[in-house]
């Protein structure tokens, strides 16, 4: 090889190194998943555009029709004349906002299914993990990079998506639009819980991939496990913050956006509640006497006010993150023990 050809060959290589931002395992992870990164960014841009459109549309509508803080059949006096506007508002925007929420809610599941499960499973299935492991990087290090870098990316994506959804719902007004923060549809996508679910999806996918070693079964397992955790947490959700107990003579008038757990049960002044069929047969005076006889002349209500929303969302997110961390640690330990 002559000096001239040598120069010609090394020059572009040197120019290239100046542009190389990523090195080592981060480069490999980027090289393998750059398609997914671009897809995620495109999705984020689309979500942002939809959010801006919805936020602008809803706030303009609310201002024009003076229905801020209004809802159907209650709210300040001025709302009574605006009921039709609220109806129109809901027909126009409720479905659109719900679609946005569904898309955002689906992100952690899509992440677990299409990013988490194939991460390790596809390599084990095709045997390509042996390429990476034959280099100088130990398998445990490879695994941590493969899991944690996509996990960080999806946490970021879902964090931004949740922030966008929350921004839209806050602008639209929960009560006015009729989509409440405590509904199964709105709770996760409008808060930090979504970040936890995304991390859990990736961790579950990675663990399932390593254990099952085949892509499609790992995807199924990930979806089932993540669905199971979602159902479990939905069941536990009311207990994630201590509810406020309200005991009063009259049926309490709670804010429209309060999450009522047990509505207006008959109770004593001390809050001791009675079964719903107490004095069920009695009417009028007989009922009053019957209730007085049992001392059940108060109403007992338990609820989470809107002010507790973030606390519950953060607790649920933290639970998911903790579970995800545990799973990553278990996966790492499992790989250390196993020969593949």
């Amino acid at each position: 090889m002559s000096a001239a050809t040598l120069e010609r060959e090394t020059a572009p290589a040197q120019r290239k190194t100046g542009r190389e931002l990523l090195h080592g395992m981060p480069w490999l992870v980027w090289r393998q998943h750059r398609g997914a990164v671009w897809a995620g960014l495109a999705l984020l841009v689309a979500l942002a555009a939809a959010a801006v459109y919805l936020r602008h549309g809803t706030t303009t509508f609310v201002q024009q029709h003076d229905i801020a803080g209004c809802t159907l059949f209650s709210g300040p006096e001025r709302c009574a004349e605006n009921q039709e506007a609220i109806q129109l508002y809901r027909t126009q925007y409720q479905d659109l906002v719900q679609i946005l929420l569904v898309v955002v809610l689906a992100l952690p599941y899509l992440a677990g299914l299409f990013v988490g499960a194939p991460l390790v499973a596809r390599e084990l299935e095709a045997g390509t993990h042996r390429v990476a492991w034959s280099q100088s990087v130990p398998p445990q290090r490879w695994l941590l990079h493969k899991l944690l870098l996509p996990l960080a990316g999806l946490v970021l994506l879902c964090g931004l998506a949740a922030w966008l959804a929350s921004w839209v719902l806050a602008g639209a007004g929960q009560a006015t639009l009729g989509i409440y923060w405590y509904s199964a549809l709105a709770f996760a996508p409008t808060g930090p819980a979504l970040v936890g679910y995304a991390a859990l999806g990736i961790a579950l996918g990675g663990a399932a991939g390593l254990l099952i070693r085949r892509t499609v079964p790992a995807m199924v397992a990930t979806l089932l496990a993540l669905g199971g955790v979602t159902l479990l947490l939905q069941f536990l959700r009311p207990q994630l913050a201590s509810p406020i107990t309200h005991v009063s003579k009259a049926v309490p008038q709670l804010a429209e956006d309060s999450w009522v757990l047990s509505a207006a049960q008959r109770s004593t002044a001390g809050g001791e509640t009675f079964p719903a069929n107490l004095c069920a047969d009695a009417r009028g005076d007989a009922l009053r006497n019957c209730l007085a006889e049992h001392g059940a002349t108060y109403y007992h209500t338990e609820y989470h006010p809107l002010s507790q929303m973030r606390q519950i969302q953060f607790t649920e997110g933290a639970l998911c993150l903790g579970l995800a961390a545990l799973l990553v640690a278990l996966t790492w330990w499992w790989l250390r023990r196993r020969a593949l």
Partner: protein, 328 residues
């Protein structure tokens, strides 16, 4: 022996999968600088041994050292190149990206020029995806990835299995040239014997997860004799009374030697023996040196024959306590 001169040292090595033991009580040494053939039938434990030595998992029993280090440490990984069975490559990565991966994941010792040289010498298109390459080009790229790492030892798991004879010859030549230039120790597995002829100067034979034979190829052959002759008339067809062995009795002149395998046709016998003493031609038999293929087949067919390890492959006795200590 100096640790630097020993490429692989296994003592009491065992590997157990759910289906059973893939390797059991393997003890041997592979001196550095050798080109060693790892031979055995399918399922003998060849791939298991190679992947353990490449640091892919934890042995279930015993101990394994690569250049004196635990194969799972970074220190050992940097010194060992490993080409797994079926030569896996990321199919969607281009040739350039595959070499870049080598550079990124072997930052301490990557030799870009050497890797690129191997690829260019075979006219492998640099911007083609690895999945679209021909078998020969794939092998060349995989070898470039291995040699770019500047390994002290290169382990290959059936590297020529899917190649036609022409490409196989070309790749063997490339492998041997690179290994010779840098003094790389090579350990290559195969279950087809002719692949190894004239290439390997060392042999490690596995069967049923155990070491059957290890040592210099020519010395292994020279330590054995093929004896062909007529059975002694008096002993012919006679059965032993204890019933332990029902076969015909070989001439008593073979007693000081270890009979690895004996075949009898009519009054003729043919026995492969490991000489315990000089074995001259007899009145009724002739003695010759077996071919490597005959030797290997005899050992693989006779699992009851004792294993043979040449001094360079044998491990000095190690106290049991020390072994246990290493295993933990």
């Amino acid at each position: 022996m100096n640790a630097g001169l020993v490429a692989i040292e296994a003592s009491g090595l065992g590997m157990r999968y759910r289906r059973g033991w893939a390797l059991q009580e393997c003890s041997f040494r592979l001196p550095a600088g050798r080109v060693c053939g790892l031979v055995g039938p399918n399922g003998a434990g060849k791939s298991t041994l190679l992947s353990l030595a490449a640091g892919f998992g934890e042995a279930s029993a015993g101990r394994l050292r690569v250049f004196g280090a635990d194969p799972r440490t970074r220190q050992a990984r940097e010194q060992v190149g490993y080409l797994a069975q079926n030569k896996p490559l990321y199919p969607r990565m281009t040739v350039t990206d595959t070499l870049r991966m080598g550079r990124e994941l072997n930052r301490a010792n990557w030799d870009q020029r050497r890797a690129e040289g191997i690829v260019r010498a075979g006219d492998v298109p640099l911007h083609a995806r690895a999945g679209s390459l021909s078998g020969g080009q794939r092998t060349r790229l995989a070898l470039a990835l291995c040699f770019g790492k500047r390994p002290r030892m290169l382990m290959l798991d059936e590297p020529m299995a899917d190649l036609d004879p022409l490409v196989r010859h070309e790749m063997t030549a490339l492998l041997m040239a690179e290994a010779a230039e840098y003094g790389t120790t090579v350990l290559t597995s195969t279950h087809t014997l002719p692949e190894l002829e004239g290439v390997c100067d060392y042999l490690l034979v596995l069967a049923d997860g155990r070491v059957r034979m290890a040592g210099e190829a020519d010395e292994l052959a020279a330590a054995h004799s093929l004896v062909v002759g007529a059975l002694p008339a008096a002993d012919s067809g006679q059965q032993r009374k204890d019933g332990a062995a029902t076969g015909p009795v070989l001439p008593s002149a073979l007693d000081p030697h270890t009979v690895v395998e004996a075949q009898v046709t009519g009054r003729q016998f043919s026995a492969l023996v490991r000489r315990g003493a000089p074995l001259p031609e007899g009145p009724a038999w002739s003695v010759s040196e077996p071919s490597m293929e005959q030797l290997l087949l005899s050992y693989l067919r006779s699992p009851e024959a004792p294993a043979l390890l040449m001094p360079s492959a044998d491990l000095p006795e190690m106290p049991a306590a020390q072994l246990k200590d290493h295993a933990a």
